[in-house]
């Protein structure tokens, strides 16, 4: 057929591409054409051919093959109306009606959207995850029907557990009679969003374009109301591709998105908390997923300084400056041990905050008897039951305020200020000085600890982190990877005081998050001219190495440092624990965990996809110069990767 295009003038290229799936429809429409083609080939119906007869003239059927309005364009306008700037997708032919509209309409008319090519749906969602934590709003992603959504599911779960807004679109196929054949059936389901419903905040399968507009606006509103979360629209493939029913005159209106006021605590309970904090001798402020925006960071500083109270950061957001004198992250357990009031703001693991459990399962409270423990958290305002990301029930809390912490802080600060007398305020200053000394002491201890193994190879974590810090510290940097695998050395040694300088962790500890989420964060940072850096693991990188292609292809500047311990190291430690309990030793556990034999050359892998790559760096003396070269590349707008052969933790 491709060799004889003259024979198929009535069939558009697009229909040809979809021909296999359209099956019966195309077969019926093209029947005369096929009969003609087969007759001329002499391969079919040879026994009925009459050499003297003339084939009847072909009369094309009267069909509308083009149109000037389409559902996809309307959907694009809805997305733009919501302020969505980016659409990340691995292409799939069940959402091409929308994808084509974004490419040929959304990307060339104002306000312009940008479509980004990913090589895996999990990467699309994780990019949205990282983007939202920098930008404070969702970007969109498209996922192929059923199989694309299945690919994406772990990343969706991470985002759900991390309370992050993501705007996701997958396909639906509402009319089975227009579904075509083969893969169109494989890639549709009666209720495909059901597979992720337990870990999305909301989903909808709209039945009309007008319904799409309303559902999209509602979805965005839900995503952006604390607790934030991913939302999903399953959009009928035909609705995307067809012209707008009734033409442009019947185009549905674009619904308006209202300003969203998040749920704050009621006044009486705010007054009660303020009373407790002002009169406490040993208050502790704990913040985890609190600072949704830079305002959260600013307000927590104000509350802590007003009270001269210590702040311990759970590490899932940039809640408090790392070198603020009241930052007592290293002293959490000892502070809890003498606390009379604990105020926990959006704690991700409230049970573990107020309870200690040993390996034999014995429990004991972390706070002294008679203390008051208060949580302010929106995470329980939209509970679901199947997955356990909420962690164990924390029965030790005295008061649970079901509200958004960031939205509650301004009223709490005002109440605290009203209740603070001059004499009380003066007394609190001494407390602040004590914490300032403790903070400096912890910093000195961390430096001493960092000096051990400083010249070791594989390279130690503090050495790797400090080499990185001194390579970027004069840039407007943004560290967009979690630090647990580096034992939190950046928090121990670096100075960070801006909201975008740290964005926390995976949410549900799902590996394969760091590399793509970092790229999404870099995308958000790109328009502000920030320098994005990510410490990714060798294990994490290999879950989605295609992200490096996206970084190069989309010209997104980012510096990846590969913490290459050649192992799934956390699992190695845990396997060792189990093997030793069984008295079998650990010599064989590496079979399950070591990423060796062969050692992967991550720099070569990066270079193969257009990313500047160096490594493996084995000698710590080589790391600083390599970083300097990579930083120069990133400042030119390129992605770069340094492979650092490093210690496990």
């Amino acid at each position: 057929m491709a060799d004889d295009p003259e024979k198929v003038t009535d069939v558009t290229r697009r229909q040809l591409l979809a021909g296999a799936a359209l099956g019966g429809m195309v077969a019926a429409a093209a029947a005369p054409l096929l009969a003609s083609a087969q007759s001329s080939s002499g391969e079919a119906h040879a026994e009925t051919r009459d050499p003297s007869s003339t084939p009847p003239a072909y009369e094309p059927p009267q069909r509308q093959l083009t149109f000037s309005t389409c559902g996809g364009d309307y959907m694009t306008d809805v997305l733009r109306g919501l302020g969505i700037e980016y659409f990340a997708a691995t292409p799939g032919n069940t959402f091409m009606g929308l994808h084509e509209s974004i490419l040929n309409y959304g990307m060339v008319t104002e306000p312009k959207m940008r479509s980004l090519l990913t090589l895996h749906e999990e990467a699309s969602v994780a990019m949205c995850h990282g983007y939202a934590k920098i930008e404070g709003k969702p970007m969109a992603c498209g996922m192929h029907g059923v199989v694309g959504l299945q690919h994406a599911s772990m990343a969706i779960y991470n985002a759900y557990a991390d309370r992050v807004p993501i705007f996701m679109i997958t396909s639906a196929s509402l009319d089975a009679l227009r579904r075509g054949g083969g893969d169109k059936w494989d890639h549709s389901g009666t209720d495909a969003p059901a597979m992720v419903r337990d870990f999305t905040k909301w989903d909808s399968t709209p039945g009309s374009l007008g319904h799409f507009g309303e559902a999209a606006t509602r979805a965005y509103k839900f995503a952006m109301t604390p607790p934030y979360g991913p939302v999903l629209l399953a959009v009928d493939t035909n609705m995307q591709e067809d012209e707008i029913p009734g033409g442009s005159q019947r185009r549905p209106p674009i619904p308006k998105l209202p300003r969203i006021s998040p749920p704050a605590a009621e006044e009486a309970v705010v007054e009660e908390i303020a009373d407790k904090l002002v009169n406490a001798e040993n208050p502790v402020l704990y913040a985890d997923r609190m600072a949704r925006t830079p305002e959260g960071l600013k307000n927590l500083i104000e509350l802590a300084e007003t009270l001269q109270a210590p702040v311990c950061d759970g590490g899932n957001r940039m809640n408090f400056p790392w070198r603020h004198p009241l930052n007592q992250r290293a002293q959490l357990r000892s502070l809890l041990g003498k606390a009379d009031v604990l105020l926990a703001l959006e704690p991700g693991g409230p049970f573990n905050l107020v309870t200690e459990q040993d390996r034999d399962g014995n429990l004991k409270p972390t706070l002294p008897a008679g203390s008051m423990s208060i949580s302010i958290s929106a995470s329980e305002l939209a509970p679901k039951g199947n997955y356990h990301e909420m962690q164990r029930y924390a029965g030790n809390f005295t008061l649970a305020v079901e509200a958004d912490s960031e939205a509650t802080l301004p009223a709490l600060i005002e109440a605290v200020k009203r209740k603070l007398t001059t004499s009380r305020s003066s007394a609190l200053q001494a407390r602040g000085q004590m914490f300032a000394q403790a903070h400096q002491q912890d910093l000195n201890l961390a430096k001493q600890a960092a000096a051990y193994g400083w010249d070791a190879s594989p390279i130690s974590m503090p050495r790797m982190c400090q080499e990185l810090y001194y390579a970027i510290k004069d840039e407007d940097w943004s560290l967009v990877s979690p630090t647990a695998f580096q034992s939190g050395w950046p928090q121990k040694l670096w100075t960070a005081d801006r909201h975008y300088q740290y964005i926390g962790a995976q949410g549900a500890a799902g590996i394969g998050y760091i590399t793509p989420a970092s790229l999404g964060a870099a995308l958000a940072n790109q328009k502000y001219g920030r320098f994005t850096v990510s410490i990714t693991g060798d294990g994490d990188l290999m879950f989605s190495p295609g992200v490096l292609f996206t970084a190069a292809h989309e010209r997104i500047p980012i510096l990846y440092l590969v913490h290459n311990n050649r192992c799934y190291h956390e699992e190695l430690m845990q396997l060792q624990f189990i093997a030793n309990r069984r008295q079998r030793g650990i010599q064989r556990v590496g079979i399950a965990c070591d990423i060796t034999d062969p050692n992967i050359s991550y720099a070569d892998m990066a270079r193969s996809m257009g990313v500047y790559g160096e490594g493996p760096i084995v000698d710590p003396k080589d790391l600083g110069p390599a970083l300097k070269r990579a930083v120069a590349r990133v400042k030119r707008g390129e992605p770069a990767l340094i492979d650092v052969v490093s210690q496990g933790r």
Partner: protein, 134 residues
């Protein structure tokens, strides 16, 4: 250092409490036996000590405390291996003999002292206050 002190203190307290349950090996009562540091270095990697404590026993952040230089007294180390506190795997004599532990202890004891912070430019200054330290 604070962590080290806490760890030693914990060992002392729990060690006393656990005496009735876990009998400390006879060698724990004595000073460190002589050992082969080179073999100990190999065992430190083969038996997975490096995973949490780093290849030079420098410590692995929250996963394992610093072991070297200046390791804790041999009796404490032996007791911690045979009856560990916190999240450390248990090393019975089936997995690691007293002789091997002596070799590992010899390796830890052989490690040189760390550089002084003042001699490491990247650690010398307070973060944020140093520029062009190299």
């Amino acid at each position: 250092m604070r962590r080290l002190i806490y760890w030693v203190a914990s060992l002392c307290v729990v060690g006393a409490g656990a005496a009735a349950i876990v009998r400390a090996p006879a060698s724990a009562q004595n000073a460190a036996p002589s050992g082969n540091a080179m073999h100990g270095k190999q065992l430190f990697a083969l038996d997975g000590c490096y995973e949490c404590h780093g290849y030079q026993g420098e410590g692995g952040g929250g996963d394992g405390p610093k072991l070297a230089p200046d390791p804790l007294p041999y009796a404490f180390v032996l007791h911690q291996l045979r009856s560990p506190l916190r999240a450390m795997p248990v090393y019975t004599s089936e997995v690691l003999s007293d002789h091997d532990i002596a070799d590992i202890y010899a390796y830890l004891s052989s490690l040189p002292k760390a550089k002084a912070v003042a001699d490491i430019p990247l650690l010398r200054c307070d973060p944020g206050s140093c520029s062009n330290v190299k």
